[in-house]
């Protein structure tokens, strides 16, 4: 325990170094900004900025990229509550009660409660990381290649089947991602795989090209001419409007606590990131509430609980990523990819080999969240003004940044063409009902899965039983089987013909896309 405290102090020392602090600030600022702007995605932003971080020290780079992720969660709530636009899927449910509050002239209070819930949820998520990550690391240190291999398999399977959309299609997209990740020269033998004689493919497909293809270009192909400017007439929010009354606070306290717990649980299961956490938190809150009729008409609990869960889940998301090297969703896969590009091997050794990175990141979470509250409460008027920027000005600029970002990774146009092809094909797949998030998980984890698969077999001299021999890897395989079994059971149950009207009603009020 003393040790943890000393590490944390050390982390603050790292995070408060001027340039680390500066890059955290830049990260949360950019995050907050794109959170507010309708139609701009977290994934696209992080990938555009990724090439810029190649020349930076690793700690500053990760602090900034992480800051974009949690910063965007603060901005996203503003968009949902004031405009009724689910700019970011993890804040879509907040619209349901946040917007009615705005129409009742209580938008400011909703935002104030949101900030409170956000900070509480985030703080809980960070504490969870401080206490839980070292514990996970200790277990993970006992893992050999067979255990890592089966754990990754379980993580990929969970990421593919628990996220939104059809489980089968999620698995298919994961496999596509693994294939994309295996393009280029084989690490062991140097054999070129799937390069078709192209030199630019020999070094593999760039993470930036995959991420910007699927989450930049494909996303804009999808949202062009579908995003209208929100109606902000009559919405006025000043700082003093944000102060909740004592009664509001009493009403929000328990929902915040419940939401936080839901979020922290969801963050530990791969594939169930902040979006699913917020939906579960809202549904749970409605069920335990004494007056569920109020939900959908401006219930404070309907804002506080999902917001708290989103933020605790966003911070908790970093636990499996930083301690095991297994990302739970696409954003974490991207951040893991950034670590790999920086030459840092993700996994349990990260905490001991790069304590600066690990504890600096945790300290920067505290600093970043405090900065975000300071940025959002007094400056709320500025963010509200930014909501008026129409999408038709944003996407051409974003496309330009995508081109420049991809070009600068290798200083060649081949990358831009790759990204365009990936984007167009990716959008075609989206129209066929595939979701892009699992691709990135497969792409980032695929090469490490293969490496550990080959190493495990080499150690066991070709005996496949190595994957179920140790109790740890047998447990992972068992969990994977249970997961697949549960999916088959649920799919069979869902096939029972049901009233179509009910199927529509059961869906959320808005159709949205994974981050």
């Amino acid at each position: 325990m003393d040790n943890t405290f000393a590490n944390l102090v050390h982390g603050f020392g790292i995070a408060l170094q001027p340039h680390n602090f500066l890059f955290s600030l830049v990260g949360v600022l950019i995050g907050n900004l794109i959170g507010v702007l309708p139609g701009m995605g977290i994934m696209a932003t992080i990938s555009i900025l990724l090439p810029l971080t190649f020349g930076m020290p690793p700690v500053a780079a990760i602090l900034m990229l992480a800051g974009i992720y949690y910063g965007a969660q603060y901005g996203g709530a503003i968009c949902s509550i004031l405009l009724n636009l689910p700019c970011h899927p993890s804040h879509a449910v907040t619209c349901l009660d946040g917007y009615p509050m705005t129409r009742q002239g209580r938008g400011g209070v909703a935002l104030g409660i949101t900030m409170l819930a956000a900070f509480f949820g985030a703080a809980f998520g960070i504490v969870q990381m401080i206490l839980f990550a070292p514990f996970l690391v200790q277990i993970a240190f006992k893992f050999g290649p067979a255990e890592i291999c089966t754990l990754m398999l379980l993580g990929l399977l969970a990421g593919a089947t628990l996220a939104r959309g059809s489980a089968l299609k999620g698995v298919a997209m994961t496999l596509v991602g693994i294939v994309l990740g295996s393009v280029g020269s084989d690490l062991d033998t140097g054999t070129s795989r799937f390069t078709f004689g192209s030199m630019s493919l020999y070094n593999g497909i760039d993470l930036v090209a995959v991420a910007l293809g699927f989450f930049g270009i494909a996303e804009f192909l999808k949202s062009i001419n579908t995003i209208s400017v929100g109606d902000l007439s009559g919405v006025k929010v000043r700082m003093r409007d944000m102060r909740p009354s004592r009664a509001d606070l009493r009403e929000a306290a328990m929902p915040i606590l419940r939401g936080t717990l839901v979020g922290s649980l969801c963050s530990l299961i791969p594939g169930t990131g902040p979006t699913i956490a917020s939906f579960i938190a809202y549904a749970a809150e409605k069920r335990v509430s004494r007056n569920p009729d109020k939900f959908g008409r401006g219930a404070i609990g309907g804002v506080a609980s999902p917001e708290a869960s989103t933020h605790s889940s966003v911070q908790g998301d970093f636990v499996p990523t930083m301690s095991l090297g297994i990302p739970g969703d696409a954003v974490m896969a991207l951040i893991l990819g950034a670590l790999i590009i920086q030459g840092i091997t993700p996994g349990p050794q990260l905490m001991t080999e790069h304590p600066d990175m690990f504890w600096g990141l945790i300290a920067s979470f505290w600093i970043g969240n405090i900065l975000l509250v300071l940025l959002n409460v007094p400056l709320i008027g500025v963010w509200v003004k930014l909501l008026r920027i129409p999408f038709r000005f944003l996407y051409p600029c974003a496309l330009f940044f995508i081109c420049v970002g991809v070009y600068s990774t290798n200083n060649e146009m081949a990358g831009v063409i790759q990204t365009l092809v990936i984007g167009v094909v990716g959008y075609g797949l989206m129209r066929l009902g595939f979701h892009p998030a699992p691709v990135l998980l497969g792409f980032v984890l695929g090469p490490r899965l293969e490496e550990n698969f080959r190493r495990a077999l080499m150690l066991s001299r070709g005996d496949l039983a190595t994957f179920v021999d140790s109790p740890i890897s047998a447990t992972f395989v068992g969990l994977a089987v249970v997961l697949v079994g549960a999916q088959i059971y649920l799919a069979r149950k869902a096939r029972v013909p049901q009233d179509p009207a009910r199927a529509v009603a059961a869906r959320p009020a808005v159709v949205l896309e994974e981050p």
Binding site: L399, S408, G433, R454
Partner: protein, 163 residues
């Protein structure tokens, strides 16, 4: 990003037959998987004790064939009919052409013209915008590209390569 629920509640918009989409989706994946398997065979499979570069991609490709077949054979759950809004050829064409313009002009004329063309062409894809607004936006972004990328960040591509 999002659409009002009322639009999607009407069911699939542009799906020709009830099964066409899953056949297309599953078939595509199975074909892709088959291609991966065939290509991976040429890399050398090795043995289980000494796995070659081809074995892992081959397993993945085989799994893809299986999953593709399952996608084609299982009826979609009702909740899956959501994507695929009406085709927006103008928007799509402008985005793709804008990026192609960046590639071609960046290669031959430099960052400035590439930026201008990319932003201008892609901005024309919006049905609410007009050419004048697109022109102003493109000029503004070109200025940003010159100041931020060429002057401040010393971007590799020259702003103007000359004729």
């Amino acid at each position: 990003m999002f659409r009002p629920a009322s639009k999607s509640a009407g069911g699939p918009v542009s799906v020709p037959g009830p099964h066409a989409r899953r056949y297309a989706a599953g078939g595509l994946m199975a074909l892709f998987g088959l291609a991966v398997v065939l290509e991976a065979r040429t890399f050398g499979l090795g043995s289980l004790a000494r796995v070659g570069p081809g074995l892992f991609p081959m397993i993945v490709g085989g799994a893809l064939v299986l999953v593709g077949a399952l996608i084609a054979l299982t009826p979609e759950a009702g909740s899956e009919h959501e994507e695929a809004g009406r085709p927006d050829w103008r928007g799509w064409a402008c985005i793709v052409l804008g990026i192609l313009a960046f590639v071609v002009l960046g290669e031959h004329l430099g960052l400035g013209p590439a930026t201008f063309a990319c932003v201008f062409v892609s901005a024309l894809g919006d049905r609410q915008g007009n050419p004048r607004a697109a022109l102003l936006l493109a000029l503004a972004m070109t200025a940003v590209a010159g100041i931020v990328f060429t002057l401040a960040l010393k971007f590799q591509m020259p702003f103007w390569r000359g004729w």
